[in-house]
């Protein structure tokens, strides 16, 4: 949290963070924030344009589009986040074990990962849905099953590099336990890598879930989901193209925000930004500070 103010300095990062947090909060508190019931049908209001009661208009069944968008955050954003956390968690545990202990355990775990990674992701997800049936939870399960190996791979590589460093060697010399070394030394330094890879995977997972829902494999009607809203709008694509705007723009905005957030996360978590109190005040006048602000040619 000490590094939080680096986000606020970078305007694009601050904007992305704002979009992401507003979306997440709106999703969590959907019943209080949404102006109408998202599943309430008003056939007399079919394709109605925006009004004060229905700010973004109504869809083909006369349901409030804004409320459906807000409720749609739950599967599209929050449940994907849960799947992400689960697969990163599994990947991190396996990656840490493999990267820190090396040797046979590493070889064994990485061969399992190789097997997992040799399946094409999309096709396997479709196969799992085919076996378990259509539904949001099955897609999420497929995500966790297919993604953990990839995270394990990346986290292992990063852990391996840090486990070789001299400060880890010194802790070993001191006689510290492996768990303690991982917690105190390796976890903090590999956290930026983990955060960056997982947030970049997040945006693609959001898109994938929306894609599956668009195909009708995800969440089932009458529940709202962004991809499914797009699919419903597709049917009237030529007569009422504006129906695609709300879910389409929301998805694009959110995914773009996540991507920009990933970029700035990488910068903000750089340890070299951690500057002790005294120097920070003197910094704007230092050469480094001026170069950063492009004042020096």
């Amino acid at each position: 949290m000490r590094r939080f103010h680096y986000f606020l300095k970078d305007k694009l990062a601050a904007l992305s963070l704002a979009i992401i947090s507003i979306t997440v909060i709106a999703g969590i508190f959907a019943p209080w924030i949404a102006p109408n019931d998202p599943e309430e049908v008003h056939m007399e209001l079919r394709f109605a344009s925006a009004s004060w009661e229905y700010l973004l208009g109504n869809d083909h069944l006369g349901r409030c589009i804004l409320s459906r968008l807000i409720y749609g955050i739950r599967p599209s954003v929050l449940w994907v986040l849960v799947a992400l956390v689960a697969s990163v968690g599994i990947g991190a545990v396996i990656g840490f074990i493999a990267g820190y202990f090396k040797g046979r355990i590493d070889a064994f775990l990485m061969r399992i990962c190789d097997v997992m990674l040799s399946f094409p992701g999309y096709v396997m997800t479709l196969a799992i849905i085919g076996i378990l049936g259509v539904g949001l939870e099955n897609i999420l399960l497929a995500f966790v099953l297919m993604k953990w190996a990839w995270f394990a791979r990346i986290i292992r590589t990063s852990v391996m590099a840090y486990a070789e460093s001299d400060y880890v060697k010194f802790s070993k010399v001191l006689g510290m336990g492996s768990l303690r070394i991982m917690r105190k030394h390796i976890l903090p330094v590999s956290l930026p890598d983990i955060a960056v890879t997982s947030s970049s995977a997040y945006s693609s997972m959001v898109l994938q879930l929306s894609g599956f829902s668009f195909l009708g494999l995800g969440i089932q009607a009458p529940h709202a989901e962004w991809g499914m809203m797009l699919n419903e709008a597709r049917e009237v694509m030529f007569s009422r193209p504006e129906m695609m705007l709300a879910p389409g723009i929301t998805t694009i905005l959110f995914v773009t925000a996540v991507n920009f957030f990933t970029d700035s996360l990488q910068v903000a978590l750089d340890p070299k930004l951690g500057i002790s109190g005294k120097k920070r005040q003197g910094r704007p006048d230092s050469v480094a500070g001026r170069i950063q602000r492009n004042e020096v040619a």
Binding site: Y167, K172, G175
Partner: protein, 250 residues
């Protein structure tokens, strides 16, 4: 003086090539020597002679294939056995302190194993910093804000903080430039007298070894060529040691 470290018949090989390869490369062969408390033993060899591997074995980070390394009668491989008995300073100053740690946190790390209260520990950090020639303003600095020589000083303070009788210096001054090397060497000599420390000084530089050490062990392709008192350095027996000496001095 009692023996601190006893090394007996140590062999070490590494696997060459991939995980299914049977071929092994012999790094160390039949290493035996004794190290007395408070002495300063130099371990000299060319690059590839196995001196850093020997260092890792002595620190208990890696296990020898054969042979034993005893630290005050206990195997150095046991974590509890080496706690507070041996300490180290490494070569690469860019990775010797966790980039997220301040200097104070880095020096506090070995102190967490000691029973003192937090205040006493902080005092100790200040004292240690003074002893290595850095003032208290360095406490809150991060490693990337320090120069190579300053980081090595912090690492020395961190090694001294363990209160162990022996510090292994693995090429600790080799990556510093000339004048800073000399300053650090002088610091090491001072600390040796004031804390009655012993060093295991791994280096390829005979001159700095001669400056600091009481005895030197000359390593050649994984075997001990000769162990000689520093006063007798001029009359080394083996032809390899003579050649090494001539090369270094001229």
């Amino acid at each position: 003086m009692p023996e601190l470290l006893t090394v007996e018949g140590v062999y070490k090989t590494y696997r060459k090539g991939g995980m299914f390869s049977r071929e092994r490369q012999q790094i160390l062969r039949d290493i035996s020597f004794e190290y007395k408390e408070g002495e300063c033993l130099g371990i000299i060899g060319e690059s590839g002679s196995g001196k850093s591997t020997l260092g890792r074995l002595l620190l208990g980070i890696e296990k020898p294939d054969r042979g034993t390394i005893l630290l005050q009668g206990e195997s150095v491989e046991k974590r509890g056995g080496r706690r507070g008995r041996i300490s180290a300073v490494f070569q690469d100053y860019t990775s010797s302190i966790n980039p997220y740690f301040t200097v104070e946190q880095a020096i506090l790390e070995p102190l967490t194993l000691q029973p003192d209260g937090m205040e006493a520990k902080r005092d100790k950090v200040g004292r240690l910093l003074r002893q290595v020639g850095l003032d208290s303003s360095f406490r809150s600095k991060y490693p990337h804000e320090l120069s190579g020589g300053q980081i090595q000083r912090v690492c020395i303070a961190r090694a001294v903080a363990t209160e162990s009788p022996c510090i292994l210096l693995d090429e600790a001054i080799s990556s510093l430039d000339g004048s800073v090397q000399m300053q650090v060497l002088e610091l090491l000599k001072e600390l040796k007298d004031s804390f009655r420390l012993g060093y295991l000084f791994i280096t390829h530089d005979i001159q700095s070894a001669a400056y600091l050490c009481d005895r030197v062990l000359i390593l050649r392709s994984g075997q001990i060529e000769e162990i000689v008192d520093i006063k007798e350095l001029k009359n080394v027996q083996s032809p390899y040691a003579q050649k090494l000496l001539r090369m270094m001095i001229t």
